[in-house]
């Protein structure tokens, strides 16, 4: 059979393993379900009343922000799971098999996609409950889903790099929070960027998460799109193009 076919089959075998981890680990199931619900409710009802989002209702404004934040946190599991695999004996077993080594990383990334699709669906449901009223067409919904998948892939590959760099599970968990929390807060996720101090504002308005959030928000509730539409795709694709070879290089380096 062709080499690439095996690479794909091996990845599917290991993705199944990683998905079983999600379904059989109480922690992972709880975070998968509770995290998006909690953030949605806290932002909507604790902060929402004090935030001025202009003509758009806060529930409508918040939805894209929470969605992207949840996707980003979901990808942190690639960092954690890869860090755990690299530390334990199982990586030696995988490497001594006639399988495609890249499957170890790709398996976790596929399972991240699975996790984020479920989280995304939960967010849509909870969103409707708290007053999210999109006016998107079926085509626009499809574009949002597409961008969500592309964004998940991009951030999962970045997380894979982290997973290969950190030396412990604790570090893997911290890294996710240290990077993802500031990135989601210094963006247009929860508040409009125009009240931020100028340095933060310049950063917030030009970082990839804001572009992705603004694009989804525009498609869903009709806010203005500007350049964010194509910039968000360029960012995601650029991140993937850079991080795939870096991951491969790090994996080989860690292995020897």
């Amino acid at each position: 059979m062709h080499n690439l076919t095996w690479a794909f089959k091996d990845s599917v075998v290991l993705a199944r393993r990683s998905i079983l981890h999600i379904l059989r680990s109480f922690d992972q199931v709880m975070s998968l379900i509770m995290f998006p619900i909690m953030f949605m409710l806290l932002n909507r009802y604790v902060l929402g009343g004090a935030i001025d989002t202009g003509k758009v209702s806060y529930a409508n404004y918040l939805f894209a922000g929470i969605l992207v934040q949840t996707l980003a946190f979901g990808a942190n599991y690639t960092t954690i799971n890869l860090a755990v695999d690299m530390k334990e004996g199982i990586i030696d077993r995988f490497r001594s098999l006639p399988m495609h080594n890249a499957a170890v990383v790709v398996g976790h990334i596929i399972s991240d996609l699975f996790r984020n699709i479920i989280s995304g669906l939960i967010i849509v449901l909870v969103g409707f409950v708290i007053g999210f009223r999109p006016n998107a067409s079926a085509g626009e919904w499809l574009l949002v889903a597409l961008l969500a998948i592309l964004f998940t892939l991009a951030i999962s590959w970045l997380s894979a790099i982290l997973g290969l760099l950190v030396k412990s599970l604790e570090a893997a968990q911290w890294m996710g929070f240290i990077i993802i929390f500031p990135l989601t807060f210094i963006s247009s996720a929860f508040v409009p960027t125009n009240t931020m101090p100028s340095v933060l504002r310049v950063f917030a308005e030009n970082q990839p998460l804001t572009h992705v959030i603004d694009t989804m928000r525009a498609w869903l509730v009709g806010t203005s799109l500007d350049n964010s539409g194509w910039l968000s795709f360029v960012w995601c694709i650029a991140i993937i193009i850079v991080s795939v070879p870096v991951t491969a290089w790090l994996f080989r380096r860690r292995s020897n």
Binding site: R17, S25, E88, I90, D92, R93, L97, N256
Partner: protein, 328 residues
């Protein structure tokens, strides 16, 4: 001539030539050579840090040697690593099982990654679960398994593809005596079925029970090679060892034990070479009985790994040295 040559190379399962490996300044392997015949069991015996695991990692393609070469099942471990991987099974020092998956799922997954035909896998898995006494636990997650069960599952996973060559890195470390014995039986059984086995161990008795041949390795070098009995012969004969109840008997007992006897005033122990094996112990005990000398204990002591080490290198194993340093 040509036929003879090819027959010889066909019976060699593993050949290592001048393997060297360093981590930074530290030389872990300083030129390791050995050959392993198909269908036999070879034990790499040595203390922690001797280079046993590094040797296994090189032979199982996990690590590239700095110098030297090795072939496994006729394939070069660096240039033909894919072919090597298809012909080996590896059970590392730490159980490499997936805790969240059941025993059955673990074995199935490894079978899939070996690229075995999907239709053969369920039956192969069932056979292995039976062979390694895991049928009752087959559908429980591996995190609920005991240490011995995890080790057995680990071994079963290494054997899914019926590899010609099996690497076992300290297979029984951390197991209770019963699980150890069970695992020994299973390893012996595999060798009887024709699998070539290279294992590492720190225990003389393990090498003695399992291996046809032993290589003693210390500080990255092979210091001795042979059967266990050959090595023991090098370490000297068995010894009788009696521990006394009263210090005042020490002098008398030492005389009764013969010219080559030695004694220790602190532990009240007298030892002497047992030239006639158990007979020597019997003789000495007879003499002590006649002299009405009370004993704390009496034993026939076989040479241990430490005795072998002492005889071969002039120094004890590092662990033994550390133990003595602690006592001093």
């Amino acid at each position: 001539m040509a036929t003879k040559h090819s027959r010889i190379s066909a019976s060699v399962a593993i050949q290592a030539k001048g393997l060297r490996k360093s981590y930074g300044e530290q030389q872990v392997l300083k030129g390791v050579d050995f050959t392993l015949e198909q269908g036999s069991i070879l034990a790499l015996l040595g203390p922690n840090g001797a280079g046993k695991t590094t040797t296994i990692r090189i032979l199982s393609t996990l690590l590239k040697p700095d110098e030297g070469s090795a072939s496994v099942n006729g394939f070069d471990v660096v240039k033909k690593s894919a072919q090597v991987r298809a012909s080996i099974g590896l059970t590392g020092q730490f159980a490499a099982v997936d805790d969240y998956m059941t025993g059955r799922e673990n074995i199935l997954m490894i079978g899939q990654l070996y690229h075995l035909p999907a239709e053969d896998l369920p039956e192969r898995t069932r056979d292995l679960l039976e062979q390694f006494d895991l049928v009752d636990a087959a559908d429980r997650p591996a995190r609920t398994y005991s240490g011995g069960m995890k080790r057995r599952l680990d071994l079963a996973m290494s054997l899914v593809a019926s590899p010609a060559i099996l690497f076992l890195d300290e297979p029984t470390t951390g197991l209770d005596p019963r699980s150890r014995l069970a695992l020994w039986h299973m390893i012996k059984e595999l060798a009887r079925g024709g699998t070539t086995i290279l294992l590492t161990t720190q225990y003389m008795e393990e090498a003695e029970y399992l291996a046809d041949n032993v290589i003693v390795i210390d500080h990255g070098q092979v210091i001795a090679e042979g059967t266990v009995s050959e090595l023991k012969a090098q370490a000297g004969a068995e010894r009788v060892e009696v521990t006394l109840k009263r210090a005042k008997d020490l002098h008398v007992v030492r005389k009764l034990a013969g010219a080559e006897a030695s004694s220790d005033e602190e532990t009240l122990m007298v030892t002497a070479p047992a030239r006639k094996g158990a007979e020597s112990l019997y003789e000495l005990l007879g003499k002590l009985n006649t002299a009405k000398i009370p004993l704390e204990s009496a034993a026939l002591r076989r040479p241990t790994l430490d005795d072998v080490f002492l005889a071969l290198t002039g120094h004890a194993t590092e662990e033994e040295a550390a133990k003595e340093a602690k006592h001093a």
